[in-house]
């Protein structure tokens, strides 16, 4: 054979790599199929429900994104390259906006907190300037005429180091941009480091009407502790909200610092104050939410003028609901036969119901609870189960979608 080196090497390449990809194309990987099993309630409420999350196999040391539909469990590696590419990793709100308003969404910052949407308009507000501290650029899409208007508004002389847009709201006349501002400060004295502002901008003439400081966090590090601001409002929801909700955490150092310890064992959030700012009345009120009733992470969910908390109890969990306009506090006991896991838990509001997926930290199981938003009654509970016995495998659900 004259060119045996080329031929032999090419043969090895085709045999090795070729067969590997041909096999991959024809045989789908032997990953577990998950499906939601009803434990009790009305199966109709989970019709077309899609779970998204990660599948992690600790023994085999790999993880993949997974999407569980009522019919199928689809792993990232089973999907085509282009599907994986275009679906990206953005949240579903951005995904929807991109497919509906492709031209308008081009080049927009991929955070949904910069958007506001109602029936007629889609509004985008973001900062400009070197340290994004000089002002705002605002773009508005008229959904009927499909026309875009845009303008810039400068923030007058200020001591802002940089700022983040945390929420955008609008009425007929004005756009309200809620920002978290970080100030340049003198390191020698304790002083105001950050604060929430609401900038009110007139749509007609594009002028800055008002810069309202709604809360400032005065940090004092001297007393072995400090305070920290945390946004509580739901940032994937870009519709109209009357309130901007945030909390102030009081953090204390506990014990001696040891580099082997976790952050959590060294710093402890002692208490949290919840605040709500009403865009219509410019009023800031402190929410009277009893601290001791809340779970460790104090995660709150805001929807239609109410703040919700989930709390684990002996017989299941309880839903705490705080109505912001009248300060009414309701606690609804949700008895369930299923375990409430320590893993990922969150609330998705959809169609008058609250969908609560809960992943386990200890295995590949997960539960779903569906509550009626008004009554807080459990209307469905289900269990995610795999088609096989799984060991040291985790299913971490982090998003829900509705078909």
């Amino acid at each position: 054979m004259r060119y045996w080196k080329v031929i032999v090497l090419a043969a090895i390449v085709i045999l090795g790599i070729g067969t590997y990809y041909i096999q991959n194309a024809f045989a789908s990987p032997d990953y577990p199929e998950f499906h939601l099993e009803k434990v009790s309630g009305d199966e109709g409420v989970v019709d077309g429900l899609i779970f998204m999350g990660s599948y992690i196999d600790n023994y085999k040391e790999f993880g993949e994104d997974v999407r569980i539909t009522p019919e199928d469990t689809i792993y990232q590696s089973e999907r085509s390259y282009f599907d994986n590419m275009t679906e990206g990793f953005q949240d579903s709100t951005i995904k929807r906006l991109q497919s509906d308003y492709r031209k308008f969404m081009r080049g927009k910052n991929e955070s949904s907190s910069s958007f506001f949407e109602d029936d007629k308009r889609l509004i985008y507000a973001d900062t400009f300037g070197k340290e994004s501290d000089e002002g705002f650029k605002i773009e508005m899409l008229d959904k009927e005429t499909n026309e875009t208007t845009d303008f810039q508004v400068e923030i007058p002389e200020n001591n802002i180091n940089y700022l983040n847009v945390v929420d955008v709201q609008a009425d007929e006349k004005d756009v309200f941009i809620t920002t978290r501002n970080f100030y340049t400060h003198d390191p020698n004295k304790p002083e105001t480091e950050e604060g929430y502002h609401v900038y009110r901008i007139n749509i007609e003439n594009g002028s800055l009407i008002d810069d309202e400081v709604i809360f400032e966090n005065k940090t004092d590090h001297s007393d072995k502790g400090w305070t920290e601001l945390v946004e509580v409002n739901n940032d994937t929801d870009i519709g109209k909200e009357d309130y901007f909700v945030f909390r102030l955490d009081h953090i204390k150092e506990v014990g001696e610092y040891d580099e082997y310890d976790d952050y959590e064992t060294y710093y402890k959030t002692e208490s949290s104050d919840f605040f709500a700012y009403h865009f219509g009345t410019n009023e800031l009120k402190e929410l009277k939410i009893p601290d001791e009733g809340l779970g460790a992470d104090k995660t709150a969910y805001v929807h239609e003028g109410a703040v919700y908390f989930l709390n684990k109890t002996k017989s299941g969990f309880e839903l705490i609901r705080y109505q912001m306009d009248n300060g009414e506090l309701n606690t609804t006991e949700v008895p369930t036969t299923l375990d409430l896991y320590d893993g990922n838990i969150f609330i998705v509001f959809h169609d008058g119901k609250m969908y609560i997926p809960n992943s386990s930290l200890e295995g590949s199981t997960a539960n779903l609870f569906v509550l009626d938003e008004k009554t807080g009654k459990l209307v469905y509970e289900g269990k995610m189960s795999a088609d096989r016995e799984l060991e040291n495998v985790f299913l971490d659900l982090n998003e829900l979608a509705f078909e």
Partner: protein, 280 residues
Amino acid sequence: MKNYVKLVDFELKRFMKIYLALIGIVIISQIVGVIVESNQFMNLANGEMLDGSMNLAQFLETYWPLTMSRILFSRWFILPVGLSAAALIFYCFFIWYRDWFGKNTFIYRLLMLPTARINILLAKASAIFLMVLGLVSIQLILLPIENIIFQTIVPFDLRVDMTIREIVNGSGYYGYLQILLPTSIVQFFINYGIGFMTVFTLFTAILFERSYRIKGIIFGVAYCIFALVIFLSPFIIEVFSEFGYFYPEELFIIEVILGIIVTGISIWVSHYLLNRKVTV
């Protein structure tokens, strides 16, 4: 075309001894690695369980069952693969310079062949590619063999079996296996396409040096920067304009086109240098 195949064959022949040695090292090291790692694990298991300090369940909880993925993290695997990678990267330079340096002057013969000079470059690039893909294939062929050895030594209770696909998709030798053999065939072509482009760009830089010597080093480096800037231009623009203007699928098409352009320019400039500027 025929001359091109002859030249590829010839280029392979010139590196064959070292290449076979590399393959030999990979095979021996990995097989020894599987045996040693498996046996070490079995010794550990026997030690912990025979003296009664642990039962099977406790042992598995503490040490976890052994997998091929864990074995692939061992030095027996990483070192020979790293050595092969280093050798092939080094050979990208040496494949040219060996023709000029030394007592013989083989470059005279290569340039005086009655064939288009670009064939010389294409043959060198192809030889390197075949050798890279060859090594990757050897790894793919080795994995099932190693799997069998692993299963022979470690009993079922103490191991978790993985398919070849799972091994490749896992974090085997720190994730590099995934770059060499991505799950998606499209990604495979992207990775090796970028590899091809890089090799051609590097070859062009080397030919700049071989044409203009000291000045050529500057030209060569400048050319590499030029190629990099062209290829990454959409991302560079994005950095300056803060946000991504293009949607991912658009960016993909643009990058494919830019990759082809950069490769094309490299080949064209190489063609020009080989015909007009190169000096023995």
